[in-house]
């Protein structure tokens, strides 16, 4: 099925590489083993050499990535590490990769295969020293800012491998600055596209390509130097690989690489068998996106999107993981659609964090898994001009579900310490306009790469130190970010209670407060929000990850005057502590994301907060001492401790609070009793809910959500009707939400 999908829509192609690719795929289809390798002969003959060579290949990638980070001008790459480097077989299957954004293990693979299938061997040709680049998600990446470069590696005239690198660019030249362009409703607004293009020959990037970048991007230095950094990394890998070839021979290397992939496939299956229990697991997430009244959105469809993300995970007795997205809604005129390449990315980044963290991950893991992505859905759009600029908005909730499904498997198998409630969305802020030097600029602020994680089954989630797409979380230094933008931090503070409550709470996020400085034109935009519905759940009684916070601005603020008079400014902003409103004069605005508004100028204030993770276990079972420590460190408020955790304190000064153990016990007993009093039999609740369904008693967005999903998927519609015992002709009122206008 995977193979059928991969081949879908591609023409038959010609050339030795195309033949090689077709043969490899035929062999996998007929034998179930990569390249038809039923025995790993080289491994059996010399297991030590086998491991040694694989370790070396991975080491080449790790070192290449470090070199590239030195070259980059982008804080996203240099400071936050938004980059990955990998080595591929001639057919484009990943053999080894560095650390970094693991999302792209298979996206680059798709890019290479796309070129082979599209007869690049003939025109434009694939020769030693060539450099190819791509950021087209329908060819193979996640979103426009994820720009990848690959180079072919030849030995004595024969292509023996590809080296590839990808960086997330901080500016992509879209309709709004940055790269995660929430305003993009079609491809044409997303920015500069490089569609599997030969951008260089003889190890040199073409000048005309650089000029195109310089003239179409707000901040070309990020993109251009990153491009150079990636190519340098690829060349480094080539040099190292050819040295290795001189030692072990090209034929041996190529054969070993194939065995590494088949071994990777077997390892993935074995690891799944070891850590989980076979069976069918189901989970769900929701995501809401408000566009009503936002400037710039065209009337191409209904505004205000609500997405249901149902996932069924099947783990076979052989260890194969299959994720089925049946029931996903159609793609839409918004930026959150995702291509199969992006869905691969979500799968890989999750697997590398939970099962394949020992560094042997490669295309084998992809072959041991399967994604079923309904054509026409947001997971597999059937129109290649739809926008994918913020596909993470739906990817993160979706693969958060995957993490929780896997965690159920770990729990069932007894691997309690591996249970992880997982990832959340973390809204990104992007900006452009005129910077503090008086120059035009554009940048995506990547401090969002340090949100709160979901809780674990044995401890609290990570505070301000996790994002799903890159486990090496990093918010970067304020002093580096401020050099790149006309904003001054007035604070970067832990946001109390921002993780979902639980016996172990979700990790908390942080809040940044900025003063606009030395500019009269700062365009701020944000992306990836779910401010009205929870986009990720908790586990085993833990509360969900809280929804996204609103953005707050004060225009024409009197902050300078207050500062001159040494009056308190905007600090200590936390839940229920509205210092902005009480302390500053000016035009106060609260905006539900995405934030798209008129430019700001010096003296204006902007706050932006990131998301915390979901909780694990009953909040009433939380150890009060943990919460007391949280309160001392600003992670929890007293009210939260009392209301959510039922903790009572002895009256004493705030800094010397002590737990009243007896009162806590009583309070918790009473809260549990109240819960029981409110409880009803599930059958009664289901019966009432069925009445609501029958009478379609939902807000319009919910009705549209189910209508669209049922229209796209007869299977989902049938299951829905069956679950609620609905008549066979039942449907929701259909307002056309998410409907493909072409149909």
């Amino acid at each position: 099925m995977k193979l059928a999908h991969m081949m879908d829509g591609h023409r038959a192609s010609k050339g030795p590489l195309a033949d090689q690719l077709a043969r490899s795929e035929r062999l996998f289809a007929s034998t179930g083993h990569y390249a038809g390798l039923e025995d790993l002969e080289l491994r059996q003959a010399d297991p030590l050499r086998f491991e040694t060579v694989h370790m070396k290949l991975r080491a080449f990638c790790v070192s290449a990535r470090e070199m590239a980070r030195r070259i980059s001008a982008s804080p996203g790459v240099r400071e936050v590490g938004e980059m990955v480097v990998a080595l591929y077989t001639p057919e484009g299957d990943a053999v080894a990769l560095s650390n970094g954004i693991m999302v792209h293990v298979h996206t680059m693979s798709r890019f290479i295969k796309w070129m082979i299938r599209n007869e690049y061997e003939g025109n434009p040709g694939i020769a030693p020293g060539d450099i190819f680049a791509n950021n087209d998600a329908f060819i193979g990446t996640v979103q426009v800012p994820d720009v990848m470069d690959v180079i072919p590696i030849f030995h004595e005239g024969r292509l023996i491998a590809w080296a590839g690198a990808v960086c997330h660019e901080l500016e992509a030249g879209g309709i709004t600055p940055g790269g995660d362009v929430a305003l993009a409703q079609e491809r044409y607004a997303e920015g500069l596209f490089v569609c599997a293009e030969k951008i260089g020959v003889n190890d040199t990037i073409r000048r005309d390509y650089v000029i195109r970048c310089e003239r179409n991007l707000r901040m070309p230095i990020y993109w251009v130097l990153d491009e150079q950094a990636k190519v340098a990394a690829c060349i480094y890998i080539r040099e190292q690989l050819l040295e290795l070839v001189a030692d072990i021979g090209a034929e041996t290397l190529v054969s070993l690489c194939r065995e590494f992939i088949e071994e990777g496939r077997r390892s993935q299956l074995a690891r799944t068998r070891q850590l989980t229990v076979p069976g069918t697991y189901r989970g769900h997430a929701f995501y809401g996106h408000i566009t009503s009244g936002k400037p710039g959105f065209q009337a191409l469809g209904d505004p205000d999107w609500l997405y249901a993300i149902p996932i069924e995970m099947t783990i076979g007795v052989d260890g194969k993981i299959m994720l089925d997205f049946e029931g996903a809604q159609p793609w839409g005129y918004h930026s959150m659609n995702c291509t199969p390449a992006g869905m691969d990315g979500g799968m890989f980044v999750t697997l590398t964090q939970h099962m394949n963290y020992e560094g042997m991950v490669n295309a084998g893991a992809w072959l041991a898994t399967e994604l079923r992505l309904p054509p026409g859905s947001w997971t597999n759009p059937d129109r290649e001009t739809c926008a994918t600029a913020t596909s993470w908005a739906l990817l993160l909730p979706a693969f958060g579900v995957f993490q929780r499904l896997l965690s159920r498997g770990f729990l069932a198998r007894g691997f309690v310490e591996e249970v992880f409630v997982g990832q959340v969305n973390s809204p990104m802020i992007e900006m452009g306009g005129i910077n503090q030097h008086g120059d035009e600029f554009g940048i995506a602020h990547f401090e969002c790469a340090a949100a709160g994680s979901g809780a674990l089954a044995i401890k609290d989630g990570l505070d301000t130190a996790y994002v799903g797409w890159n486990p090496e979380s990093d918010m970067g230094n304020v002093e580096i970010w401020e050099q790149e933008m006309p904003l001054l931090y007035l604070g970067r503070s832990i946001l109390p209670n921002s993780g979902g409550a639980g016996r172990f709470r979700g990790g908390n996020a942080f809040l940044s407060t900025w003063l606009v400085s030395k500019t009269d034109e700062l365009r701020l935009v944000t992306s990836e929000h779910s401010s009205r519905v929870f986009d990720n759940a908790g586990m085993c009684g833990g509360y969900p990850a809280p929804t996204c916070q609103v953005h707050r601005t004060v225009r024409n603020s009197n902050i300078a005057q207050r500062a001159r008079n040494r009056l308190p400014l905007v600090h200590d902003l936390g839940p229920g502590q509205d210092r902005l409103a009480s302390r500053l004069d000016g035009i106060h605005e609260q905006t539900e994301g995405p934030f798209i508004a008129a430019p700001m100028k010096s003296g204006d204030i902007f706050t932006h907060s990131y998301n915390g993770g979901g909780g694990y276990g009953d909040p009433l079972a939380r150890c009060p001492k943990l919460t007391l420590t949280d309160m001392r460190n600003g992670h929890s408020s007293r009210r939260h401790a009392e209301v959510v955790h039922g903790i009572r304190f002895l009256e004493s000064s705030e800094s010397e609070l002590a737990i009243d153990w007896d009162a806590t016990k009583q309070a918790r007993k009473s809260m549990l009793r109240n819960r029981l009093e409110r409880a009803r039999p599930v059958s009664a609740w289901l019966s009432e809910e069925r009445q609501r369904v029958m009478s379609r008693d939902f807000v319009p967005e919910v009705r549209k959500m189910y209508a669209a999903a049922m229209r796209l998927s007869p299977r989902f519609a049938a299951e829905f009707r069956q679950f609620w015992s609905l008549p066979s002709e039942f449907s929701f009122e259909d307002t056309g939400a998410g409907k493909d206008p072409s149909k």
């Binding site: 040694t52 982008s74 580096i480 040494r566």
Partner: protein, 713 residues
């Protein structure tokens, strides 16, 4: 035996033992060893120096009067950091940034982790902060990256914070404001206010300012520097002062030196001692680099197993790796440092068995040298790794530290039986003890594999070099099955770090942050203007360097100043350091030469394709590296002789426990081994300061430099 008089004395005070090496004019050296005395390091220093003098046949006074250099290094301050036994700190920072101490930039939740743990997110966690969030206060102020004051300092908030911290009896107050390295006005004003309040309250609390301690960009790294300086070096400075007093009392006429993290010597009066915190381990790497150069083995993995820690480093083709943003104790710094990795694993570590869960733990606390392991019979009853070595016959009870300490094996056996073997339900005490050693060695082996993997290094291209008092004792275990090309150790392994320190030269770096954009198509005048500005800074730094080196006792004609620049293509975030090819830039032609050198160096490091001339070139830092050479020890090369050691080197036999049974084992005196000798295992090769255990089936070969090569069977 009387030899020529020493000119350099190198001392390495480890967590357990203090080693002294005396080097004479011709490079010959002798080694002394004594227990580290943490309460007053000067005592251990003096005792080990006395032993080294004894082997050289001179008195302490003679030695101290004659040596030009006393070089003191150690891990005492690092251990304070790792064991969180430093001072209680207070912190004043830019208001709104107080949570930096907890958030640690996010990346401190995984920095220092292995490749696999970096990916395996459930393993991530924040390190325990050095300052409590409750003792952290924000003061309203803001300076931007141009150095412009955007919000004036709220002085009343400073006063409130200082008074509260005085009330809370913090032992030091740190100040770290955003962009204080560009404009320190606010930090200086805070210092004035704080000093006034401290004086008014009669408090002697120390004050540390970030622009003073580490004036470089990246606030999280600067904060870590200032916190570590305040947290861990206070006691260290007192200890160094007492070393200086002791040396002076015995006739030493100069200032005692120590080693900076990038490998240069500096006076112990160095104002930022956190830059010297890993001097001991770095000494070992410098020594390995020096020895590697002598014997032609230029790619090495070095490993130092002492009483409390296991330190590792890498030398590739003769070059040590300099880490510019190193991680020390999981805190990210912005400091040039010879790259090292450390785990808490050593022979002095306590062994414990949890009475409820039966779980075994090695350390992290250690018996140190006082009271030492159980077998020292000085009152400690908690068994250590060293006790297991004694129980299993691997240590000679009559020859520990050359017989200075007699090991009470029975006492160790009994304590181990009661506290470890019985709670574990293991009847055979020796099996339990061997299991403990296997755990330690396996931990060290895993750490080695981790750094190899993290650095992308294949062991078959590297030799492992083992030193430290306990290195040779456990070398056979922790090096097994990794696949190193060779495994080396030394007769003076126990004092190798001290030896390494003595191979360093005096070095100081003087630098200044600048921002000089080299004009893209600049005319003669613009270029010359930049050239003149460079020369003005360099001349100023040369004067500063000359004065400082003179103050350290170096004559002007012995001091060499090399100008350097940190450059980048405009817009990049990382610099390339280049040694200037010319002493002064002078004019546009000189500037072109400098830029060409930068581009050439950059291309070598980052490949041609990565140059971006259109962006322009920026000089971000100008500096002068001042150095003065000093005498170094030498290794003597001899002809290879017979494989059979001289019979008087054979010390008899002892029963030693290997692989679950007792083996009759040959004992050899290490100092008696000659080049060419080969010894098959099982064997124990003894030295007053260390013991090399050769496992059954393994072999040791002595090469022409008298270096011992360990070969697994």
């Amino acid at each position: 035996m009387t030899r020529s008089r020493p000119v350099v004395a190198g001392i390495d005070a480890g967590g357990t033992m203090t080693d002294t090496i005396l080097v004479d004019q011709s490079g010959e050296f002798t080694v002394g060893k004594a227990a580290t005395t943490p309460q007053c390091e000067a005592l251990g220093f003096l005792e080990s120096a006395e032993e080294a003098c004894h082997y050289r046949g001179i008195g302490l006074e003679t030695m101290f009067r004659n040596v030009d250099v006393v070089l003191y290094s150690g891990t005492g301050m690092l251990n304070v950091l790792l064991s969180r036994t430093g001072r209680r700190l207070g912190l004043i920072t830019t208001r709104g940034m107080e949570d930096m101490v907890l958030m640690g930039r996010g990346l401190q939740a995984w920095s220092g982790y292995s490749y696999s743990d970096r990916l395996h997110a459930v393993t991530h966690c924040h390190p325990e902060p050095l300052v409590s969030r409750l003792d952290t206060f924000g003061v309203t102020e803001r300076i931007d990256h141009f150095g412009d004051v955007i919000i004036e300092l709220y002085e009343h908030e400073v006063r409130d914070a200082v008074i509260t911290l005085i009330d809370r009896r913090v032992e030091a107050i740190c100040v770290c404001l955003l962009f204080a390295h560009v404009n320190p006005t606010h930090e200086r004003r805070i210092a004035e206010i704080a000093r006034a309040e401290l004086k008014a309250h009669g408090s002697e609390t120390d004050l540390y300012l970030s622009h003073d301690v580490r004036p470089v960009v990246r606030e999280q790294s600067r904060l870590n520097s200032v916190l570590i300086e305040a947290y861990a070096t206070g006691r260290g400075r007192q200890q160094l002062a007492s070393i200086q007093d002791t040396a002076a009392r015995h006739g030493f006429r100069h200032t005692v030196q120590t080693l900076q993290s990038f490998g240069g010597l500096t006076s112990i009066a160095h104002p930022h001692l956190h830059e010297t915190m890993v001097s001991g381990p770095i000494g070992g790497i410098l020594g390995a680099q020096y020895v590697g150069r002598l014997i032609g083995t230029d790619s090495l993995v070095v490993s130092d197993l002492g009483g409390t820690s296991f330190d590792m480093g890498i030398i590739t083709r003769g070059q040590v790796r300099i880490e510019h943003e190193p991680v020390m104790g999981r805190f990210k710094l912005n400091l040039p440092m010879i790259a090292m990795d450390t785990i808490g694993a050593g022979a002095g570590m306590h062994l414990k068995v949890d009475p409820v869960t039966g779980k075994v733990s090695l350390g992290p606390d250690s018996a140190g040298s006082e009271p030492g392991p159980v077998c020292f019979d000085k009152g400690n009853l908690q068994p250590t790794v060293c006790d297991c070595d004694a129980i299993l016959g691997r240590l000679n009870p009559e020859y520990f530290l050359g017989g200075k300490v007699r090991l009470n094996v029975e006492l160790a056996h009994e304590a181990f039986r009661k506290r470890c073997a019985e709670p574990l339900g293991i009847d055979n005490v020796h099996d339990a003890a061997e299991g403990m050693l296997t755990m330690l060695e396996s931990e060290a082996s895993t750490a080695l594999r981790r750094i190899l993997s993290a650095q992308g290094i294949h062991p078959s291209e590297y030799a492992l070099l083992s030193y430290g008092g306990s290195g040779p004792l456990h070398l056979g275990g922790y090096s097994r099955d990794i696949g190193f090309s060779d495994i080396l150790t030394f007769k003076f392994a126990a004092a190798f770090s001290a030896f390494g320190c003595t191979t360093a030269d005096y070095q100081k770096r003087f630098s200044r942050s600048v921002r000089l954009d080299v004009p893209l198509a600049g005319d003669e005048e613009e270029m010359s203007h930049v050239a003149r500005r460079i020369d003005i800074v360099w001349n100023d730094l040369r004067r500063q360097a000359g004065n400082q080196m003179k103050a350290d006792g170096h004559s002007a004609n012995n001091v060499h100043c090399k100008p350097f620049l940190l450059m980048r293509f405009t817009g990049q975030l990382e610099d390339v350091e280049i040694a200037s090819p010319i002493e002064l830039v002078a004019d546009s032609k000189g500037l072109e030469t400098v830029v060409a050198t930068f581009v050439d160096t950059y291309r070598k490091i980052n490949r041609c394709v990565s140059t971006y001339g259109q962006a322009g070139v920026t000089i971000v830092e100008l500096g002068v590296a001042a150095s003065a050479a000093k005498i170094k020890p030498k290794l003597v090369r001899k002809q290879l002789g017979s494989p059979s050691p001289c019979q008087n080197t054979h010390k008899g036999q002892r029963e030693v426990y290997f692989g679950g049974s007792w083996h009759s084992t040959d004992l050899w005196e290490m100092d008696g081994l000659q080049p060419g000798n080969e010894i098959g295992g099982p064997a124990v090769i003894e030295h007053p300061a260390t013991t090399l255990v050769v496992h059954p089936g393994d072999q040791v070969f002595v090469d022409e430099w008298s270096i011992l090569h360990y070969r697994h069977g």
